[in-house]
């Protein structure tokens, strides 16, 4: 039987302590979360409870909204305490939505990567036009939007098309394995932000042709 909570528990028991930019420390039954870069700081603002995670995850250091939670711009300066394992799970679902469950599905062989072409072929309404993006435009867009440094921390599992691999990203970005103690952030399908970007690329190209 699937159990995301058991997966999290087993991962912690095996020495897991890191997910994305977050460091997790167990304190009895409770847990403390901080930004990785803040582990040595003693001037952190103490926060408590699952719902505080939502606000911490929502805004970057400049107070700007973070629509992509795996963008490498998690805010600094806080220390969050959660009471137990179920609360930790819910807090992590705010910080890195679905990433625990997606990793569990990956381990169980139930995570089916969807090629970008299949994602775009499914779109209707204002996003149908994304189907017109060329392979070259798509590779360039992905290389810019999804790159690990400044784009997104997830590791991409999907190709451009079944027989067209991604060519514009580092090997690390396409590697689903993570260092010991680190829970991998996996991307099995292009997100809506990338689909929206594809629309921009196509529209811009159409305007330039006119």
């Amino acid at each position: 039987m699937r159990s995301v909570l058991q997966t999290l528990s087993d991962w912690l028991a095996a020495g897991g302590h890191s997910i994305g930019q977050i460091h997790i420390a167990a304190q009895g039954a409770a847990f403390q979360l901080t930004h990785h870069a803040d582990r040595e700081r003693t001037d952190l603002a103490a926060r408590t409870g699952v719902e505080a995670a939502r606000e911490l995850a929502h805004y970057d250091d400049a107070g700007k909204f973070r629509p992509l939670k795996t963008a490498p711009n998690l805010r600094h300066g806080w220390r969050l305490s959660v009471a137990d394992l179920p609360e930790l799970r819910r807090a992590l679902d705010y910080f890195y939505p679905a990433m625990l469950g997606v990793w569990l599905s990956h381990q169980r062989g139930e995570l089916l990567p969807v090629p970008l072409r299949a994602t775009l072929a499914r779109q209707t309404g204002m996003y149908r036009v994304t189907q017109l993006i060329t392979d070259e435009q798509a590779q360039e867009m992905i290389g810019t939007q999804c790159r690990l440094d400044g784009g997104c921390l997830k590791r991409i599992l999907w190709p451009l098309a079944p027989d067209v691999p991604l060519s514009s990203l580092s090997a690390e970005k396409l590697d689903p394995t993570a260092p010991a103690g680190t829970l991998p952030l996996l991307c099995h399908e292009a997100c809506n932000l990338l689909v929206a970007k594809a629309r921009e690329v196509v529209k811009k190209a159409q305007q330039q042709q006119q």
Partner: protein, 272 residues
Amino acid sequence: MIAKPHSALILVGHGSTVNPDSSAPTFDHAAEITRRGLFAEVHCAFWKEEPSLRQVLHMVDAEEIYIVPNFISEGYFTRTVIPRELELTGPVTERDGRVIKYCEPVGSHARMTELLVHRAAAVAPGVPPEKSTLFIVGHGTNLNDNSAIAAKREVELIAAQGRYAEVRNAYMEEEPLISKWDEYSTQPNVVVVPFFIADGLHSYEDIPVLLGIAEESPGAASANASGVFANNPYDRRGRTLFYASAIGTEPLFADLVLEQVAAFDAAHAVPA
């Protein structure tokens, strides 16, 4: 009260890449339902935010999953986008040992009428309805035809209760325009409730500007947010005006989510 200790509930919202207030009510209602401990699991999913509709089923352990769209009415998202992204085949989808039950959108529930009246009374405490005009404000473009129809239906239902002297529809971009609220009302008190699922530019700024209770702000519209709902009532155009936040921010919406699950079960009950 419905209790599904072995089932998962997924509340689906639209979300936004620019405005965190768009997903806030969906997260709030999910947190409230989680607090009540009625389901084994409660998750959110969004079209424009994370977790996405393509990710959310991986979060679930339960084999029975109820999907409730946190939308104001039936429409493109509830009929096309959500079923497509979740790969639903109908009201009941059986796949990979799971049963996925797709409920009606929250805003379609019959209790919406009660919530609108509740919100109107709460924003204007002690103000006699028989001396008040109630406006339900929708967007009013073709894109939102279904929500405009739903808003009209709610106005008819509230009017039929006979409590308010007048109950009117109004729109931002179509007649009857909310900017002419004083022409469409005869009562000394006017109560305005936006028929939206979340607060955002429309409820923070666009409607307040049209009502004449706020100026257009050069920066982020959310700068108006704290002020515009807190400064009731407004004395404008010889009336006393009360302005509520979007109906979808009403905490009682969490009850409607649960009611939609119960309504699904009632509609799809297997005869004994």
